[in-house]
């Protein structure tokens, strides 16, 4: 089963376009790909005719060239027939958008489609899904481009059982400046499942972190998932739904999958170093942190700030999330004290969290981060950077990134997310240092590194 033609097709047929209804899902998909993506796009409807002055093919067979993949948006009962036509034409994969299968009780119809596809080794995404968003390649989401905010191209591969959750998270990713390599809504996940996606992403050089929204596994599928996790070299983040009895009931009617005992799921994820995010905030923070630091750490954090209050807030958040703030060695404190600027040497507080005070300058941050990095009690450093004080320059992001590169320990920064401070944020981010827009978000990034370690 080669998924290359599904995710990187050079030609695509959209089957089920309407010649009368512009907002029909198939029309939205046809139009956006036809106009905005490099994929050669064909419209198909047995009635034929024209769509936006382009031909509508009555049959797949009428299309002259090869068709790499098909988007199927016809009514459920016609899907088996359409899949057979795709196989006959030599199409190498499909996205079945159509609903009306197992999720609404039509298990037999779903089985029929599955059997046809399996026999021909024909991979498809869905049914009952939004399909694939591959920045720069294609977009099978039936959502008009002007309605959604698309994340930029990046290195997070995101797979979701729910199309709605995927889109909503993509919007949130875009808001946080996180890019994705590929987003797939797998819907009823009949053929292409989470396990296949791990295999794809493992080999995909554009993906550095794999994120999942999971409602439930089928019998023993969890064990299969773990097997793939064990052979995967990239960090994996999961957001699990269906934790409470009510949610479990909603899940089973939603995507026709059964949710299992949540405690079992959660603890097994920990056992195999899969970072389970408790909510959407953790999901975005985890993805961002792990895309910079795939190896994880024990999570003993050193905190540097120029505001005592921010140190306290961060310490509270660390305590909530089970992150240890160890004491630093007297040698570390001694080295830092000796090299601090005259203005703060006497007043800076060098117990972890470090408070450099509002009188500090760039070099005080550099000194602190450098020597904290060399302290064996410290695994990663949280820099709470408030760019309001006169001593902090616009270069601080780039300067601290340089220190991080030389010392080799993970740094995570908090910088207020304002246009005015963009140069500081970019100073970090362009050098692969993750930046959070809140103290809590920065602490969640530390948590991500800890979650990716064997427990």
């Amino acid at each position: 089963m080669d998924l290359k033609y599904l995710f990187r097709p050079s030609s695509m047929a959209v089957i089920g376009v309407s010649t009368t209804q512009d907002s029909h899902p198939a029309n939205v998909i046809y139009t956006k790909n036809h106009l905005r993506y490099p994929v050669r796009t064909y419209a198909v409807n047995p009635k034929g005719g024209q769509l936006n002055r382009e031909p509508v093919y009555q049959q797949l067979e009428e299309i002259d060239g090869d068709v790499d993949m098909a988007v199927i948006a016809v009514r459920a009962k016609f899907v088996p027939d359409v899949v057979e036509q795709c196989i006959k034409k030599g199409v190498k994969g499909a996205v079945i958008i159509s609903g009306g299968f197992a999720e609404s009780g039509n298990h037999e119809l779903q089985q029929k489609v599955t059997d046809i596809a399996r026999q021909a080794n024909f991979p498809f995404v869905g049914p009952n899904c939004l399909g694939i968003y591959a920045p720069d390649y294609l977009d099978t989401f039936f959502l008009p481009s002007e309605r959604i905010i698309q994340p930029k191209k990046g290195n997070i591969g995101f797979v979701s059982q729910s199309g709605g959750v995927l889109v909503d998270h993509m919007v949130k990713f875009a808001g946080q400046g996180i890019g994705i390599s590929l987003g797939v809504s797998i819907g009823n996940k009949v053929i292409i499942r989470e396990t296949d996606m791990i295999d794809w992403f493992e080999k995909d050089p554009e993906t550095r972190v794999i994120a999942f929204y999971i409602e439930g596994f089928e019998p023993r599928e969890g064990r299969e998932f773990i097997k793939r996790v064990q052979n995967c070299s990239k960090p994996i983040v999961v957001l699990k739904a269906g934790k409470s009895p009510k949610a479990i009931a909603a899940v089973s009617s939603h995507t026709a999958s059964l949710a299992g005992d949540y405690r079992v799921f959660s603890q097994i994820m920990k056992q195999f170093c899969v970072a389970e995010a408790e909510n959407e905030y953790e999901l975005t923070s985890f993805c961002e942190a792990l895309s910079c630091y795939p190896k994880g750490s024990r999570g003993n954090v050193g905190i540097v700030s120029l505001s005592g209050g921010h140190g306290v807030v961060a310490a509270d958040a660390c305590s909530t999330h089970g992150i240890n703030i160890p004491g630093i060695t007297p040698q570390t404190a001694g080295h830092i004290r000796q090299k601090l600027s005259i203005g703060v040497r006497q007043i800076a507080s060098l117990a972890n969290p470090l408070d450099l005070t509002g009188s500090c300058v760039d070099s005080d941050f550099e000194t602190s981060v450098r020597h904290l990095s060399r302290d064996e009690n410290i695994d990663c450093i949280l820099v709470l950077l408030l760019p309001y004080t006169p001593g902090i320059s616009a270069d601080i992001g780039a300067k601290l990134s340089q220190v991080a590169r030389n010392e080799g320990k993970p740094i995570i920064a908090y910088v207020p997310k304002e246009d005015k401070y963009k140069i500081i944020i970019e100073g970090f981010e362009l050098n692969n240092i993750p930046v959070a827009s809140s103290v809590e978000g920065a602490v969640l990034m530390v948590k991500a590194l800890k979650r990716c370690r064997p427990c």
């Binding site: 405690r263 056992q271 195999f272």
Partner: protein, 227 residues
């Protein structure tokens, strides 16, 4: 690997749906796990002989197809050191529904833990480790891992418990001997992989841990209904 006698025990228990305690203990002993010395008898003389030969007090338990949760039926008597008490309790236990024989076994004292297994719908066999005894459901201080587990997993399971200091030794009380507990849990997790298609859940509860033993004081195996 399951021995022939293990397989026979399971086949003979199918109809009931669960394995009686003496049989479950035989299976555990076959794996090389530590179980208390015990006799299964309906004779008061035999029981008293066992008590006399024991170095300390004994426990008497009703063995009945009708009694799955023994404490609910008052079917366990601990700390028996006098013949007349043993006699009285033997007579009483035998009046309990379905009880034909009584399990008389040596009594071990130490930290009561649970080592359990569940055949999870999504993940297959998983191991549960935590604070045991009859209050296990109230505290639910347990850790879960997918089987088979490694030695490191056993340590991390204990580290994740609220009761971890009880395992490690607390206020001059000795902790659990990890050189005994870790292999027990690891080997148990391999056993449940061998039993994968045969069991629903297993409770070794309590497993009594001291600084030189981890003894399976009670064992219950719930079988998968035949499909």
């Amino acid at each position: 690997m399951l021995s022939k006698s293990d397989r026979r025990i399971i086949e003979n228990s199918r109809l009931r749906g669960w394995v009686l305690e003496p049989d479950a203990k035989h299976m555990m002993a076959n794996q090389g796990f530590d179980v208390p010395n015990f006799i299964l008898t309906d004779s008061i003389q035999e029981a008293n002989k066992f008590l006399k030969l024991s170095s300390g007090p004994v426990v008497a338990k009703a063995v009945s197809e009708k009694i799955l949760h023994k404490t609910e039926f008052d079917a366990v008597v601990v700390g028996i050191s006098e013949e007349k008490v043993l006699e009285r309790e033997m007579i009483r236990l035998k009046t309990l529904g379905g009880c034909e024989q009584v399990l008389v076994e040596e009594m071990v004292e130490g930290l009561e833990i649970i080592i359990g297994a569940k055949n999870d719908f999504q993940f297959g066999p998983v191991v549960v480790l935590g604070l045991g005894g009859t209050s296990v459901e109230i505290y639910n201080d347990t850790a879960i891992r997918m089987a088979p587990v490694k030695y490191g997993d056993v340590h991390s399971m204990i580290d994740s418990l609220k009761a971890k200091n009880l395992f490690k030794g607390y206020r001059k009380k000795p902790g659990v001997n990890m050189d005994l507990l870790a292999p027990l849990v690891v080997n148990f997790s391999c056993l449940i992989m061998d039993l994968e298609d045969k069991f629903q859940s297993i409770d070794l509860n309590p497993v009594i841990c001291t600084k030189d033993r981890c003894v399976i004081a009670d064992a219950r195996i719930m079988l998968e209904s035949e499909t």
